[in-house]
């Protein structure tokens, strides 16, 4: 007998914004792709100290959350030029910085765990 899938704990609705791949203009600067926003159910929790250590130092003092969802969450992909997703919760926009994709295991469906950081400004490119 197969156990019924386990649902999210205390799910809430957040907005996931996904951008199309960027293009580099003739001035050598990227033109961001067009965004598409959808509503997804997610479990949102504060980031633990260990989670914070997975982020670069400059991000650790910003508002950081952990998001679990059954919908795919993506971080930036330099091979395709796709920016990372953004998540809007309570009117505040967070950038997806780290994503762990978990395969289905027994009653636990495939899901994504993301570390999101409050968006201060657009991330830089070409830095040291």
């Amino acid at each position: 007998m197969t156990a019924p899938p386990i649902g999210l704990t205390a799910p809430e609705t957040v907005t996931l914004t996904r951008y199309a791949a960027q293009t580099i203009g003739s001035d050598g600067r990227p033109d961001r792709g067009s965004p598409t926003s959808t509503s997804i159910a997610a479990t949102v929790a504060p980031a633990s100290p260990r989670t914070l250590e997975r982020l670069p130092e400059g991000m650790r003092t910003r508002s950081v959350l952990t998001v679990h969802a059954y919908d795919q969450i993506r971080t930036a992909d330099q091979h395709t030029g796709t920016p990372g997703d953004e998540i809007v919760r309570g009117g505040i926009t967070y950038a997806v910085e780290v994503v762990d994709e978990w395969p289905a295991l027994g009653p636990i469906p495939q899901h994504w765990q993301a570390i999101v950081v409050r968006l201060a400004e657009l991330p830089a490119v070409g830095g040291p």
Binding site: D27, D77, V125
Partner: protein, 177 residues
């Protein structure tokens, strides 16, 4: 030349010298996702005067300005990312310093190549052993118009219009014996 014009002049040189595309020669620290390796970034480092600025008066009578122009020397850093871009920095330094034909792109834009540093391995410095990096600094000269300021000019003609009510002016004189 403005910093942006200098950056674009060097980008034009790099694209021409190495047959690269716009997405392979990006502006350092622009917003967005970094491109797939290999690529290079162009960073404006500095721009300083090489002597005493010259001032000339320009314009027409009644509409004069003082224009201050200056010979300036700029520095632009080009950093390469990825193993297959290892040779780019060396090639750029040689072509820039030897006035290679590829540098004509920059020369046409008003930036005259002067010299270049040897390529520097910044892989350890930037702690990116997974991705080799090289850096070269290019020096060039250009002339920049610093100011074109009418407040600094002199007045060669004054036009005065008076709007007065009718007035009777009585004049008298007394001769002194």
């Amino acid at each position: 030349m403005s910093p942006e014009e200098i950056i674009q002049a060097v980008r034009g040189f790099a694209k021409s010298a190495l047959s690269l595309t716009d997405s392979q020669v990006i502006v350092y620290q622009g917003p967005g996702v970094r491109p797939a390796s290999a690529y290079c970034s162009v960073q404006f480092v500095g721009d300083e005067s090489t002597g005493i600025a010259e001032s000339t008066t320009v314009g027409t009578p009644g509409n004069l300005s003082v224009r201050v122009s200056d010979h300036r020397r700029c520095q632009v850093s080009v950093q390469t990312y990825g193993a297959s871009a290892d040779a780019w920095a060396s090639s750029l330094a040689v072509m820039w310093a030897s006035r290679h034909a590829a540098a004509d792109v920059a020369r046409t834009a008003g930036l005259h190549p002067a010299r270049a540093t040897g390529p520097r391995d910044t892989t350890v410095l930037t702690d990116t052993s997974h991705e080799p990096r090289r850096q070269v600094t290019l020096y060039g000269y250009h002339r920049t118009t610093i100011a074109d300021d009418p407040s600094l000019g002199y007045v060669s003609q004054i036009d005065v219009a008076l709007d007065m009510p009718p007035t009777t002016i009585t004049a008298s004189s007394t001769e002194v014996p």
